[in-house]
């Protein structure tokens, strides 16, 4: 079990209330003493103004509290001093109220801070790049135009000494972070990218200075300096890091968009007054007012008003949803038309949006199994490269042509510089970050990297019928009139009669009448005939509603209509007869209709080579008819929930990778057993933690989208891993000089520096391509 939270500290390790105090804080550097400065608490249960004095008094009496001021309007109190939050909460509780801390840095603010910090770091790196390349580029041009940078005369020695000192300046100002990082890692018995860069550039500089100071120590032919390599490598790698920061910013666009959905303030009605407060101050059961054009600040249930709400940002469903009293509203969605008052039912971290953000963040940082090999390699990579560098130098010294020492230095340096553990390390997480975010944009919540990877390999998909393929709510589909009467009149009488029944099919008829604004009439002498139907009288008319057995029992002539009823049954509809005053008035058919886009979504799955199987607890005739209509050739009817799990097992034993889609409640055992369990949500009412992948909208296209985005992400990861492996596997031997015996080519350390800097940038940029992914169809 894990709990996390953050507390603000300054870099020096203590929190200062003002600049004046900051000097005293500096003396505490590295002690990281935790001091609580200005804290804001929200008070629950404070119903009268007299509470203010009690609460303030209790807080002021707490050790370490300097001041406590309560704002009764929004029920918050600001406490300054050194007391811990828990002590403040206890003090409030001791006088009979509850308190909870307010995190004054909202997610949006945190994101802004992160962007500001990234921007500052980007600017620093670009400045470092400019300094390093200002020296490196002229030196490179000199080496190309003039030729070898050798040390033969005293004038050359003095000139190169000056260049060496300037290069040291570059190493200090632009590359200090590499050397400090390398040294700290070394002391810690670990090695990282800094180690390779520091060793590579350091070796080139030290060798060059040896040539300058003691040219006699090296053979005449080997008296080259490599200052340009040191300056160029530092410049190029700083440039690569800067560009990588920019590219990385784009990978988190999806989470930024989700966080951006949160409203910052809410209007609540307290003591018959409207108060505008921060959303973190909204309490459970607060009455919240939302005007047209405003975002819903927290989750709740509508108390008053009627409106349409755009939920597309969460569900991907483009059509606005009508909301009236007792309907649920969800934080982050947009109120389009009317003003509503609603009761807050979930606030803070409990809102659906907060949970979605949390889940997406966690999933973005999790790794699919495909990335594990890269992880294992990364763990051993740097020391292995160091060993290869030494072996390469030894090979040149033993078998290389003269000047062997110069060749050895160049190859050892180039090996260290070209190797790029970052590209390997970034290959998987960058793609997962973009892929999971992209899925969230389409209303598909992927729990973790493993679910993402498995979803891309699904070969068989089991779909539950009711609520998954179909709407899940029976509706009147056909009214076949037996004689020339008004359909509205027939429906009015039938619905009035059925309003006395609790049968689900009867409810469908009543709802159909209400949808058409048909008023129900008063009925008398209602009588339910179990297994047959119902009868009653209305406006002196004798009404009879039920199956063919009831009609026969009551002597109603069905001649010519039985065939029509059978034909409706074959279309997965349930036909019922309605008779008025001893004569058949109509056949009314009720069915759970297939969702409008289920057929096209199923076609998409099948087009991807996925075997689609429908399971249902319904009878065979209905199941067969629904399956046929939905374009599914394989189905199982009259299945109990445990049989669904058995079917999953059976398919798995047959070598299939099985996806199971259900409502997350009745299908729980099968969802758990499947390789990937998909919970299909209706609107935003989803059990986020219940499945590997949650579809925020009811459409099965979400399923096809989830699989498509998983496949695209896995393809992207494979490209990245392939690129990173090939780069390192090919680059390191080239750098060591494997081409030299055959073609006389030895890679320059500067080229290695450029390749290394841009290899990780390539990985991040390739992952960014996923942002352009669009699911096909609809």
């Amino acid at each position: 079990m894990v709990t996390t939270n953050t507390n603000i500290e300054t870099e020096s390790g203590c929190c200062c209330q003002s600049k004046a105090q900051s000097s005293s804080c500096k003396s505490k550097e590295n002690t990281l003493e935790k001091v609580s400065h200005n804290q804001q608490l929200i008070i629950e249960g404070a119903g009268c103004a007299s509470c203010v004095g009690k609460i303030e008094g209790a807080l002021k009496a707490t050790f370490g509290v300097v001041s406590a001021e309560m704002n009764f309007a929004d029920r918050t109190v600001i406490v300054s001093g050194t007391a811990k939050t828990e002590e403040l909460i206890k003090a409030v509780e001791s006088v009979g109220y509850n308190a909870k801390p307010i995190d004054d840095s909202s997610a949006t603010d945190a994101l802004d801070e992160k962007e500001a910090a990234d921007w500052a770091y980007y600017k620093k790196l670009m400045r470092d790049t400019f300094i390093a390349l200002s020296l490196g580029v002229p030196l490179m041009i000199y080496s190309i135009v003039v030729g070898e940078m050798t040390v033969e005369t005293n004038l050359e020695r003095m000139s190169w000494l000056l260049v060496g000192i300037l290069t040291f300046g570059v190493m200090y100002f632009s590359g200090k972070h590499f050397y400090v990082g390398a040294w700290k890692s070394f002391k810690n018995h670990s090695a990282n990218m800094d180690t390779l860069i520091a060793l590579g550039t350091g070796t080139a500089w030290v060798y060059s200075m040896v040539v300058v100071f003691a040219p006699d120590a090296v053979p005449l032919m080997a008296r080259h300096v490599y200052f340009e390599a040191t300056a160029m490598i530092i410049g190029l790698i700083d440039l690569g890091l800067a560009l990588e920061i920019k590219a990385r910013g784009k990978t988190s666009e999806a989470i930024k968009r989700l966080i951006g959905l949160q409203a910052k303030t809410a209007t609540v009605v307290r003591d018959n007054k409207e108060v505008q407060i921060g959303i973190e101050q909204v309490l459970l059961n607060d009455v919240v007012k939302v005007k047209p054009g405003e975002k819903i600040p927290v989750d709740g249930v509508v108390l008053e008003g009627h409106t349409s709400i755009d939920e597309s940002m969460l569900t991907g469903e483009p059509m606005p949803v009508e909301k009236a009293e007792e309907d649920e509203v969800v934080a982050g969605t947009l109120n389009k038309s009317g003003m509503i008052l609603f009761k807050a039912t979930r606030v803070g971290k409990d809102t659906a949006l907060a949970q979605i953000i949390n889940m997406v963040k966690r999933a973005q940082n999790s790794k699919p199994p495909i990335g594990r090999l890269a992880d294992v390699i990364s763990a051993y990579f740097v020391p292995v490269v160091m060993i290869i560098s030494v072996l390469s130098a030894l090979a040149w010294l033993n078998f290389g042509p003269e000047p062997a020492i110069a060749f050895a230095i160049v190859s050892a340096t180039t090996v260290l510089i070209i190797a790029c553990p970052c590209a390997l390390g970034l290959a998987t997480p960058m793609s997962v970050m973009v892929g999971v975010g992209k899925a969230a944009e389409a209303g598909v919540l992927i729990r973790n990297g493993e679910a993402l990877q498995t979803a891309s390999k699904i070969t068989a998909m089991i779909l539950d019928k009711t609520g998954t393929i179909t709407e899940g709510a029976p509706k009147v589909t056909d009214i076949v009139l037996a004689k020339a009467t008004d359909e509205k009149d027939v429906l009015q009488l039938a619905a009035s009669l059925e309003s006395g029944s609790e049968h689900p099919l009867a409810q469908a008829i009543v709802e159909s009448a209400l949808e058409k604004n048909i008023d129900l009439l008063k009925i008398e002498a209602f009588n339910a005939i179990t297994g047959f139907g119902v009868e009653a009288s209305c406006n002196n008319k004798a009404l009879l509603f039920g199956n063919d057995k009831l009609m026969k029992l009551k002597g109603i002539d069905l001649t010519g209509f039985v065939e029509q009823a059978q034909s409706l049954a074959k279309e997965a509809k349930t036909p019922m007869y309605f008779a008025v005053d001893g004569e058949l008035a109509a056949i009314i058919a009720v069915a759970d209709p297939i969702k409008s886009d289920s057929i096209s979504a199923i076609k998409r799955l099948q087009a991807n080579g996925i075997r689609v199987i429908m399971l249902t607890g319904d009878n065979k005739e209905t199941a067969a008819a629904v399956a046929k209509k939905a374009g599914i050739s394989e189905f199982l009817a009259e299945v109990l929930p445990e049989d669904k799990a058995n079917k999953v097992k059976e398919l798995q034993e047959g070598g299939e990778i099985v996806g199971m889609t259900g409502d997350g409640i009745n299908d729980a055992p099968a969802l758990a057993l499947a390789d990937v369990g998909f919970a299909i949500g209706t609107g935003t009412d989803v059990a986020i933690e219940s499945a590997d992948i949650t579809l925020m909208r009811g459409s099965l296209h979400g399923l096809a989208d989830a699989i498509a985005v998983s496949k695209a992400t896995l393809r992207n990861i494979k490209q990245n891993l392939f690129g990173a492996f090939v780069y390192n596997v090919a680059g390191i031997p080239f750098a060591a000089g494997i081409l030299y015996p055959f073609f006389g080519i030895l890679l320059s350390p500067v080229i290695a520096g450029a390749a290394m800097a841009f290899s990780s940038l390539t990985v991040v940029s390739n992952a960014n391509r996923l942002r352009l992914f669009k699911a096909k169809e609809h």
Partner: protein, 116 residues
């Protein structure tokens, strides 16, 4: 000959220093440990805690580089974004004895939590 010998000694030193040497563990006494995230290393990086008590890891990130931003403990399915110049606390309860590695996304920052 001498240079080859020096090269082999260097290789042996690399193997010993980076793989064979076991650094001293920081033993957590009072249920919490402050871990500084700076210059490519977690300090301390080797932490020993008791299985019988909850432990709070307090990560203080001082490195601006995005590499330092994410901290993962894969065996416990934990991934946490570390905010710059702030402490991010992770409280672990009911840990079973064993070793849990923690690292950044690219495994350049690495540490181990040993539960005894």
């Amino acid at each position: 000959m001498v240079i080859n010998l020096l090269g082999l000694v260097l290789i042996a030193l690399i193997v010993w220093w980076f793989w064979l040497y076991k650094p001293n563990k920081t033993i957590v006494q009072d249920n919490e440990v402050l871990i500084e995230v700076k210059d490519g290393v977690y300090s301390p990086s080797s932490i020993q805690v008791s299985a019988s008590q909850p432990v709070t890891l307090k990560f203080m990130r001082k490195d601006q580089s995005p590499c330092a931003e994410t901290m993962l403990i894969p065996s416990l399915e934990i991934s946490e974004q570390l905010k710059l110049n702030e402490i991010t606390q992770i409280t672990l309860l009911n840990l079973s004895p064993g070793e849990h590695e923690f690292h950044c996304q690219m495994q350049m920052y690495r540490g181990v939590l040993k539960v005894v």
